[in-house]
Point group: C5
Chain length 326, copies 5
C-alpha cells in the first residue's frame, strides 16, 4: 500500500534547528495549515515544564470554583482561594500550562503570562441553576485572551445537549478568531444532556471516541475528554465494535481507540479522570494513557485539593510516568 | 419559436483559447453573473482529475465521521482514520475534488490545497443528539475556506425541517460571502423533517426535483441531491405528474427530470446514492445518471469503506462510465 | 379649502426636460425625499417597455418554482424551466420589468441587466414545510441586488402572521440598505396567518386596504396587493365602511379605495390576481384596475403557463388596456 | 436645606443671547450632558409654532393608519389620506411638530423638513394580528431620521408587556445612536400587557407615574403618557399614596404627580387623551395639564378627524390655553 | 510553605509616590493585568470622599425608582425626585461614588462628572411586569458611560435565574468593552430565580459566597452582594461547611467567608442590606462587615429615604465606623 507515505516524502526535509525536539516538530507537522503564530503557541505549550519537548502534557485546570462553587472546591485547602496559588503551583510542579476562567487569569496574567503558558477558558457553567441540557455561558473572549498574553483559548462543548448547535457555532466563531490571533484552541468535549439518556453513556467508549472526533472536526488543536469505560452506548456503534472486535478491555486499549478517532493520533488528546480508589490505581491509569498513545492529562481537583507538598509529589509522580515512558 | 436562441446569439463569440474545453466553457456560460474569481474556482473543479474538461464530476465527501461517528465510518478500514488518506485517495483515483468538515480540511490543506480542489463543508450534524427536525451546526466559515485555499464551500439544507428558515438564511449569508471571495457554492439539498412525514417522501421524485430547484434558486453553483425513486409525495404535485405524463420509470428518466428542474440543466447537479445490491447494479445507476444528463456523482462510504486497491478499481470504473459516455 | 394646493405651488417649476414624460415626473414628485439614485431606479422601471412613460406598469414575477415547486409551475410549459425564457419573454412582450429569486436572476443578470429592469425578490417561502403562520426565508441580499444590476429589491410581508414583527423589521433593514444603494423597494403585502382566521379575510377589502397602507408606511415605493373582494373582515372596520357608505361594488370602486389607502394615490400600487373564468373576464378586471386608478398589474402564471405566442397576445392585450386607457 | 440650590449657582451665568427665551434656556439646562447637536434639536422643537419659546408644546402625531387601519383613521375626513395634509395642517395651526411613521415622513420630508420639526416614529404596531403582550415592530431607523432631516426619533414602549425587555433594549440602542447623531428622543410610554391585568390599570395614576419615570431613566428627552385617572393599581404603591396622602383628585393634581415622577419636572412630559364628552370638557383637561405643570399635549385623532377649519379652531383654542396660561 | 510570597517579591518595589495611599496601592496590585486607564478609574473611586485612601468604600446607588417605582422610592422624601439631590448628597456626605441608571446620570453628569465618581448602571428591572426568572433589560451602554464621564459601569446578574446565560454573556461583552475604555466594572450579584427555590436561599451563606465568586470569575473589579445569613442552601455545599466547620455565626464570620470566596480578598467586595430593627443594629452590621474584611457598603434607601440632615448624620456614622476601624 502506497497511501501511507507522507505527502511530501520525496522532499528533503530541512535539518532540525539546534535544540528543537524532533517529537515536537513531528506533532507540529500534523497542523500544516496553521499560521506560524498558532504553531508558536502550540510549541510554547509543548515546550514548557518538565515534560517540555517530550510531546506529553500535564495541564492544571482550575475552573471548579465556577463549576461547583468555591466552598466545594477550595475550602478543603484554603490557600487555594488565592488566585496566585495555582500558577505558582503549576510552575513549581513543572506542569505544561494553567487553564482557568477570566477572573482567575486576570488576577495573575500581569505577573505570570511571561513565565507560564496560560489557557483562557472561554465558557463556563455554574450550579446555582442546573438543567438536563446544559448550556455554558461565554464568560471570556479572544480579545481578553490576547490582552492577557494567553497561548490558547479553552472551550467546552456538550455533545448530546439540546443546546449543542449553539455551542458548536460559538466554538466555530471563537476558534476562527483565535487562530487569526495566533492562539491555539483547546476543546473540552463532554457528552452530556438529553441525547445521552444514561449516566454511564457519558463515558462510554463509543461516545467518548465520537466526542473526540467531533472536537477535532470542529478545528480543535487539543482535545480533552474523560477517560472512557468499556461500556458501549449507541446500538449502531455497538454492532461495529462487536463485529470488528475492537479491543476495549484495558485503559490502554480504550485510549488507543480514542486517539485513533482523533485523526489517527494527529491531534493532541489529553484525558481527565482516573481511578479514585488510590494514588497507585491513579498512576496505573496514567500508565494506561501513556501506553495507549494519549498525549497526557489534565488534573484539577486531584492537584489542588491536596496540600501543596503532597500535591507536588503526586503530580511529580505523574510527570515521571509520562517522562520516563515507564 | 424564437425564444430558445441564446441571448447573445447574434454576437460573434471569441474563439476558444487553446486548451480550453468547449464543454467547460459552455457550462461556465450558465453562470454569466459570476465574477472571474468564482468562474475560476468552478473551472478548477471541472478541470481536475480524470474527468477534467468533460463537464462531468466525481467528488469524494468525507463527513461521515461527524455525521455518524468515527467508528461506524472508519473502523472497517482503519487507515481511513488518518485525515491524509482521503485526499491521497482522491488524487490517486483522479476524482475532481474532496469535501470535508473543517478539521479534516485543516489537517491536510497545508499540503494538498495546491494539488487538489478542496470543498470546505460549512455545516454538520451529529447523532449524539438527534431530532425529527434537524438543524446542522455551522462548524466552518468562509474565512476558513479562504485561508485553507479551498475552491468552494459546501452547505447542507434540509427542506421540510421546521428549522429550514434558519438554514436558508445562513446559506444566503455564507453564499454571498463566498461569492465575493471568489469561491464556488455547493449545496447538499436533502428533504427531511416533519414537513416530509413519510420516510420514502425524502427520495420521492417530486420532492427531490423541488429540493434541487430550491438550492438553485438560493444561488448554488453545484447541487447535490439523492438519486430519486419513482414515488410521488405531494398530492398537488402528483396530479401534475400524472396529468402531464412526466416519465419516471428509469433512473435516466428521473435524473432528466431533476436536471430539468435545476434550471433546465444550467446548474451542475450531482447525485449521491445508488444501488447497494451489487457493484454492477451501482454502475447501472451511474449510467442512468449519465444518460439522464446528470453532471456526476458524489461518493463517500462506497469509496473509503472499501480497501484502497478495490476502491481505486471501483471508482475507476465509475469514472470510466462518465468519461466514455458509454 | 387651502390645504390641497401642492406645497411648492408658488414656485416656478422648471420646464420638463425634453423627452421626459410629465406623468412620470409627477409620480416621481410623490417621492420628494428620495436620492437621485432611487429616483433614477424608479424612473427606469416606469420608463421601460410598451407602457414606458404612461405611469402604468405590467411586471413579470417568476418565483412560483420556489413557492409551489418547479413541477406545478413549469411542467405545463417546459421551456419555462430555462431561466432565460422569462426575461426574453418580458422583453418581447414589452413588460416593465422582471422579478425573481436570487438563482433565476443570477442565471440571467450578466446578459439581461443592461436591457431589462430586474427586481431581486429577497425573501421566499416553499411548501415542503408549511405552517399556519408563515415566515419566508431571506434568500437574497441588497449586496446581491447591486452586483446583479437590479433596479429594485422585492420583499414579501404577511400581515396577520404571528411572525409579522420579524418580517417588518427585516424589511426595515433591507429597505434602508436598498435606498442608500439607489435601489427602489417593491413590497408584496399579503395578509395571511392566524390573525386572519378566515380564508376570505385575506382578500377582504378592509384587509387589503390596510395591508397596502402598512407597506407604504414601511417605506415601500411600489406595493403589490391582491385584487380585493367586497367582503369586510374586521368588525370595527366594517362599521366604518357601512356608516360612511364607502363604495365597494365594482372592481374599480375597490381599487380606488385601496389606492386611496396607499397615501391617496401617491404610492405606486399594482395588483395580482383577476378572474379565472375567461380571458375576457380577466381583461374586465384589468379595466377595473385601470379605471380605479391602479398603477398596473403583476402577472405570473397567467403569463408563463400559456404557450409563448398565446401569452404574447394575452399580455399584449393587457398592456393595450392600460395604454389605451380604454 | 441647602441641597436645593442649583449646582453651579455660584458661577456667574452668561447673559441670555438676544432673542433667546429664558424658559427654553432653563429647560435646556435640565439636559446638561447633551451635545450641542441634541440641544439644538430640542431647541428647534421648543422654538417652533405659536407656542415657540413658551416651553409648552402641542404635537401632531399621525400613526393611526398603521395602528388602527387607514379606514378607521382617515375615511371620516378623506383629505387626510394624503400624507401632505398633516404637515400642512401642523404648519397652519402653529403646532410644534409632526410625528409619523417612515412612509408618511418620507412622503413629505423632502418638502417640509426645512419648515417644520419632524419626529420619525421608529416602531409601530398593527391590528391585523393582535396579542395580549404586544411587541411593536421597528419600522424605521436613526439613519432614516437623519436623511429625512428630522429633529427627533419617536419610540413606543409597553411597560407591563412580556416583551418589554426587547423594547427597552432596542430603545437603548436607538436612543444612543440618535444622541450621537444630534437627534432628540421622544418616548411614548404606554403600560400594557399581561403585567397590567386590568384595563383601568393602564391609566392608573401609580402606573402612569411609574411609566413616565421609566422612560426618563431610559434616556428620553421627551415623554408622552396618557392622562391618568385617579385609580391606583399596584397594591404596594397604593399603600404609599394613601399613607402619604398624595393628592390625586383633579387633573392638575395627577399631572403634577406625573411631572414630579419625571425627574421633578426636569424632563419634558406631554399628555395624550382628554375628555370625549365635549370640546369644553377637553379644554378643561388641557387647563389641568397646564396647571399641573405638564409641558403640553400630543393630539392626533382629535385633530385630523375634524374638518380642516373646525380643527384649526379647536387646536387654536388648545394652544391659546397653553399660551395664555389662563 | 513558599507559595504565599508575592510573585515579584524579589524585585525592589519603587517607593510610593508622595501622597499615594499604600493600601490603595496594595489593592491596585490585585489587578495586575489591568491597563493604566482601568487602574486610574479604580483609584479614583478608592480615592474619593471621606474614606479616600483607606481602601474602604461607601457608595450611593439610586436605581429604586426604576426597580420599585418612583412613588415607593421618593414620595416619602419628595426632594429626592430631583435627580440632582443624590449626587449633591453623596458629595456632602463624603461618599465614594454614585451609581444610577442612564436617565439619572444624564441629568447630572454634565455638572457632576468632574467632581464625583459616577457609576452607570447598565441593566435594570421594573415591577410593571415581574416573573420568577427575572431578566433585567440593558438600558445603558459603555459608550454612554464614556460620554458621561463615568469611572465605572454597573451590571446586575441573577445567578439562579433561567436567563442567567444571557445575563452572563452580556456582562462578558460589556465588561470587555468597559475595560478597553478604561472603565472599572462593578457587578451586583444577586442569586434569584427558579434555581433558588426558597426565598431564604437568596441570602444563604453558601449561595452568597458562590455568587461573589462567580462575579469575580466573570471579571468584576468590584462585587456587590447582600449581607448573608447563616443559612445553607445547597446540600452538597452544606456538607462541606459542616465537615470543615467553617465558622458562620457572626456577621464578621460570614463576611470573612464571602471575602475569601472573592479571590481570597483580592477583589473589592461590598455589601448591601443590614439590620432594619434600629440604627444601632445597622451600625453593628457595618462593624461586622469591617471586621470581617469587607471593603464597604452600598446604601440606597437607608440614605435617601431619611431627611437630608438625618441622613447626613446616619451615613456620617457609617463612614466613621469604616474610617476609624473601631
Amino acid at each position: 500500500m502506497t497511501h501511507h507515505e507522507p505527502a511530501g516524502a520525496a522532499l528533503a526535509e530541512p535539518a532540525s534547528p539546534p535544540g528543537v525536539s524532533p517529537r515536537v516538530r513531528e506533532i507540529l507537522s500534523y497542523y500544516p495549515s496553521e499560521s506560524p503564530g498558532v504553531q508558536a503557541s502550540l510549541a510554547r505549550l509543548l515546550g514548557h515544564g518538565r515534560l517540555g519537548g517530550t510531546g506529553r502534557l500535564v495541564i492544571l485546570p482550575v475552573d471548579q470554583g465556577f463549576e461547583h462553587g468555591p466552598h466545594r472546591s477550595f475550602a478543603v485547602n484554603p490557600p487555594t482561594y488565592d488566585p496566585e496559588y495555582h500558577p505558582r503551583f503549576a510552575l513549581a510542579a513543572g506542569m505544561n500550562g494553567y487553564a482557568a476562567p477570566l477572573g482567575f487569569i486576570e488576577a495573575v496574567a500581569g505577573n505570570y503570562a511571561p513565565h507560564l503558558p496560560l489557557i483562557l477558558k472561554l465558557n463556563n457553567h455554574d450550579l446555582l441553576y442546573d438543567d438536563d441540557d446544559p448550556l455554558p455561558a461565554v464568560t471570556g473572549s479572544v480579545e481578553a485572551a490576547v490582552r492577557l498574553g494567553c497561548v490558547a483559548i479553552g472551550y467546552t462543548i456538550y455533545p448530546g445537549s439540546a443546546h449543542r448547535v449553539e455551542m458548536y457555532e460559538t466554538l466555530q466563531f471563537l476558534a476562527e478568531q483565535a487562530k487569526s490571533a495566533g492562539l491555539a484552541v483547546v476543546v473540552w468535549s463532554y457528552p452530556r444532556g438529553s441525547g445521552i439518556d444514561e449516566k454511564e453513556g457519558e463515558t462510554a467508549l463509543d461516545v467518548v471516541a465520537y466526542a473526540a472526533h467531533l472536537a477535532c472536526q470542529m478545528g480543535a488543536h487539543v482535545v480533552k475528554v474523560k477517560l472512557p469505560s468499556d461500556y458501549l452506548f449507541q446500538d449502531k456503534a455497538k454492532k461495529v465494535y462487536e463485529d470488528l472486535e475492537i479491543p476495549r478491555e484495558t485503559v490502554a486499549d480504550r485510549v488507543r481507540h480514542v486517539v485513533q478517532s482523533a485523526f489517527d493520533g494527529k491531534r493532541i488528546v489529553i484525558f481527565s479522570g482516573g481511578s479514585k480508589t488510590s494514588a497507585e490505581a491513579f498512576y496505573d491509569d496514567i500508565r494506561g494513557i501513556r501506553d495507549g498513545g494519549g498525549y497526557g492529562s489534565i488534573i484539577g481537583r486531584n492537584t489542588f485539593q491536596r496540600p501543596w507538598d503532597e500535591s507536588l509529589e503526586f503530580i511529580g509522580k505523574v510527570i515521571d510516568i509520562y517522562a520516563d515512558e515507564a
